[in-house]
Homo-oligomer: 152 residues x 3
């Protein structure tokens, strides 16, 4: 199936890929691997659902924020390779959840990005994942993700 | 030396590879690289030594838990490539230690996995490592590790 | 431009690559990728600017410490490939900032390594970056970084 057609079918228009907030770039290709910088839940230049899970942000909103960060990651991938149908498979998702002490629902929050990747890439979207709880996050974002993909 | 023979010599029977706790898979191969999802100290379906280092878990028990997580990582590798003798070398170990404020013995805890990798793969087990202290961990695990390997 | 000439021009003499503090190695090459272990701000065997950003360490000193960790990472790369002109490009910088609750200036701290990489490798130094705040760090270092590079 075509990732680009899936985006249309899902009614998703990818955002402009967010710009870096320091002396780095937002994606790099090495061989057939592409990896992104840490992606935050920016939407229209506004940080969505800022704060800590388990304190200011519900798990449901954390899921939504992680999906938004996932859309930004897809925009970075597309900026790199031009067309998401060039993705052979998603390799790895790194998920860092900004959370209060005792929060345990990291997997549910990160499914916001994992579900998006599966909807867009189907079987080729299957990825390994790392999930960590982080007490302090740049710009007070509630989540930060990184996507690694294998491309043509 | 043969990694499979070393397992026998060490009296190690690998567990069933643990299943994911979210919308992801437990290993991915891209080219000659295999990488695992975050592995936790599951043994027979029971989380071993849950809690924080420096609070509920001693450094000695953290070492044991990290070895158990390492056995799970080996089980994932074997599920991917069929035979651990296909491993050319271990590349990278990511070690995230669930710990109380002020804990400093992350290296000793993570040696539980590093020592296992060296016992099984000998020179081919030499890897780079990253060690971080994390205040909140999915499922209250005391440690989470990721293994990257280069395979035939 | 030559990375080695840039080092000379900048008056930089690379340190001896720091040795590991556990059962691992400090760099690994897999295919055309080299990745380092977590690098700390060691200088002449002394940890520079230990403690937490936002508590014991200023953002300015954190920047300096991150540059020192970056020099150690360059020393590891050089130990691996012999000559920094063999670097085709820097791929990824992982930056873990040891910080007090509420600290937000992770990007400014990590620019200490990013700026160094750009000065030495110029366009080939452009990398993706991940920035996380960590409450407990091995050896009380204020920052830990990892560098991934693509080499000839």
């Amino acid at each position: 199936m075509s990732a680009e057609l899936n985006l249309q079918r899902l009614g998703i228009t990818l955002p402009e890929p967010p710009q870096p907030v320091g002396a780095y770039v937002t994606w790099v290709r090495t061989g057939n691997l592409v990896t992104t910088s840490g992606q935050l839940p920016w939407k229209g230049g506004v940080m969505q659902h800022p704060g800590r899970l388990g304190e200011h942000v519900t798990t449901e909103d954390g899921y939504k924020a992680t999906r938004i960060a996932g859309l930004n990651a897809l925009a970075q991938l597309k900026a790199c390779i031009g067309n998401l149908d060039q993705v052979r498979r998603i390799v790895r998702l790194e998920g860092y959840v900004h959370c209060a002490p005792g929060f345990r629902e990291h997997p549910q929050v990160l499914d916001g990005a994992s579900d998006l990747l599966m909807q867009v890439f189907e079987e080729r979207g299957r990825h390994v994942r790392i999930a960590l709880g982080i007490p302090d996050m740049p710009l007070n974002a509630c989540v930060q993700i990184v996507v690694w993909a294998e491309v043509d």
